[in-house]
């Protein structure tokens, strides 16, 4: 049998249709559907309690969906678990490691459960775990624990990894190491599904973002698609107070709004593209206005989330 990642017509690595997961009366996942194309990074973005872990753990075979179907690498994670386990790497949101084990010892152990594991020393070095020595797991810093957990997910050279909040609580340097590793996984053809409530992480790493709230997908697409939808954006500059806004407005495309948001502070909102920028600066040149501090602000995922839910992400 040929492994899935050499198939000529790539099937989705993960296919979730109409997934529902309940805990008693609480509906944690409420009819969620998505597909994860092979060799891409998908970020499931949402606030705490959105249902991210429940969704991922249904894909990992830990939790039984109450409704809907979940296919992972074309298989049923609960029925075909034994066939999926060597092919799928898992990083739990927390726990999973013996309190008294040493980091490298644990990594070598899990490597030894696989047929063609990664070079453990390379992984230790890449994730900065070399200094952990004989320290038992429970005494490692939170960041070191997280990175070990990530290393365990990838050491078996899986086709697909599920990373549940891989950078929660990491310092900037450790977060950077984790991002680099995830980017490398993608380059090397590993499919990555990660959950996060960091917008920056989703924007930077993901090919596709699923914005999840109350167990539903409220928006999905590439970071660019999500932030460019409805062409929202803002161009800001400073100039002398009291410019003729009607004249500026008349020089710009129809769907654009113009405002002096503070005295001498101007904001042009609309579909940001090079033509709009040129039109604004041309009007300024014609009227002898120097647009000081000209900046372009794309809509961020944060804005998207705020717009869709009326709430801040965190």
């Amino acid at each position: 049998m040929r492994p899935a990642y050499t198939r000529s017509v790539p099937a989705p690595a993960v296919e979730v249709i109409d997934l529902v997961k309940r805990y008693g009366d609480l509906v944690a996942v409420d009819g969620l559907s998505f597909e994860v194309p092979a060799a891409t990074v998908t970020a499931v973005l949402g606030p705490n309690g959105a249902g991210k872990t429940s969704t991922v753990e249904c894909c990992e075979g830990y939790r039984r969906p109450d409704r809907g179907s979940v296919r992972v690498l074309g298989l049923d994670p609960r029925r075909d678990g034994h066939r999926l386990r060597p092919r799928v790497g898992v990083m739990l949101q927390q726990g999973g490691i013996y309190p008294t084990v040493r980091a490298v010892e644990m990594l070598r152990h899990v490597a030894g459960l696989h047929a063609h594991p990664l070079d453990v020393d390379m992984l230790v070095e890449r994730l900065g775990l070399g200094a952990t020595g004989r320290t038992p797991f429970r005494r490692l810093s939170g960041g070191q624990q997280q990175r070990l957990s990530l290393a365990l997910a990838v050491v078996g050279r899986p086709e697909l990894v599920f990373l549940d909040e891989p950078t929660a609580g990491l310092d900037p340097q450790a977060r950077r190491a984790t991002w680099d590793l995830i980017a490398q996984l993608r380059t090397d053809g590993v499919t990555v599904v990660l959950t996060t409530h960091y917008l920056e992480e989703a924007e930077r790493l993901a090919d596709r973002v699923l914005v999840v709230d109350h167990g539903r997908v409220i928006a999905a697409g590439s970071p660019a698609e999500l932030t460019h939808r409805e062409g929202q954006g803002a161009l800001r500059f400073r100039a002398p107070a009291g410019l003729d806004l009607a004249s500026l407005r008349a020089a710009l495309p129809d769907a654009v709004t113009v405002a002096e948001s503070s005295s001498g502070g101007y904001e042009v909102r609309g579909a940001l593209d090079p033509h709009l920028v040129a039109a604004v600066t041309t009007w300024c040149a014609t009227h002898g206005v120097m647009p000081e501090g000209l900046t372009l602000a794309r809509r961020s995922l944060e804005d998207v989330f705020l717009e869709l839910t009326g709430r801040e992400l965190r």
Partner: protein, 261 residues
């Protein structure tokens, strides 16, 4: 370059696969053994206390252990205590905390099958028991112990006894909270040590009490050990049957009721 080397520019290129089952079992057993030996509290209950009991009860004439040389009566009981400590108390506590810390859950995502994890735990228990029996036999010999029966006859007794205690230990670890398992496993250990037919032979007790105690796995294992080692009377059927019933009950219930998360 061998085929197992990753492509230089693509170190993470997928190459999934499980290790061979014997290798996985050997690795898991070796890890469990190392973690156990690193744990001081477990060593206390599996080795230090049994040695203290062996030396104490055989040298200090505070407990009436009946006829026969004290050391010959006490040693089989301490062997049985060693099995109780390892197969029941130590296994239950370790497994309970592994469950609580999500280790069992996480291992469930590795290629090691669940039955493989149980097999590795059983192998670990048997290796530790072997070590305990060697050390305890050494201490007992230095105190003048002279066993009669054949060590080989102990093997079925040890295996069935270990199965009985392990099943009960896993049942506890897989259903109670870790703290409850910790408390209960230690309490049961203490109760069986004090009144479970381990120190005082059933023959020294009133008939009714002895009959009641004889259905306990601790008493059955100890009586079996004494029959072989003290009286040289061959493998006794009664205790073996009692232990087999406990093993079926314990392992059977555990395999249904055990919750991995």
């Amino acid at each position: 370059m061998s085929r197992t080397d990753p492509v230089p520019d693509h170190p993470f290129a997928p190459r999934p696969g499980a290790a061979g089952v014997p290798q996985m079992l050997a690795r898991q057993t070796s890890l469990e053994l190392r973690l156990l030996l690193r744990n001081g509290e477990q060593l206390l209950i599996t080795l230090v206390i049994p040695i203290l009991v062996l030396v104490g009860v055989s040298l200090v004439h505070a407990v009436d252990v009946g006829s026969g040389r004290r050391i010959d009566v006490v040693t089989p009981g301490v062997f049985s205590l060693a099995v109780l400590s390892t197969a029941f108390t130590s296994l239950a506590i370790a497994t309970g905390f592994e469950r609580r810390y999500g280790v069992l859950k996480r291992l469930g995502a590795t290629p090691l099958p669940r039955w493989g994890l149980i097999a590795a735990k059983s192998a670990t228990v048997l290796v530790v028991e072997l070590g305990q029996l060697l050390v305890l036999a050494g201490v007992a010999s230095s105190l003048g112990w002279s066993p009669r029966g054949s060590w080989l006859e102990l093997v079925p007794l040890l295996l069935v006894g270990t199965a009985a205690f392990s099943g009960l230990g896993l049942l506890m670890a897989g259903t109670l909270r870790a703290e409850a398992t910790l408390a209960a496993a230690n309490l049961v250990w203490l109760l069986l040590l004090a009144g479970g037919g381990i120190i005082v032979p059933l023959s020294r007790l009133p008939a009714g009490v002895a009959a009641g105690l004889s259905v306990l796995p601790s008493a059955a294992l100890t009586e079996g050990m004494r029959a072989v080692l003290q009286h040289g009377s061959g493998l006794p059927a009664g205790p073996l049957v009692v232990l087999a019933v406990w093993a079926l009950l314990g392992v059977g219930t555990a395999s249904v009721a055990f919750r991995w998360e």
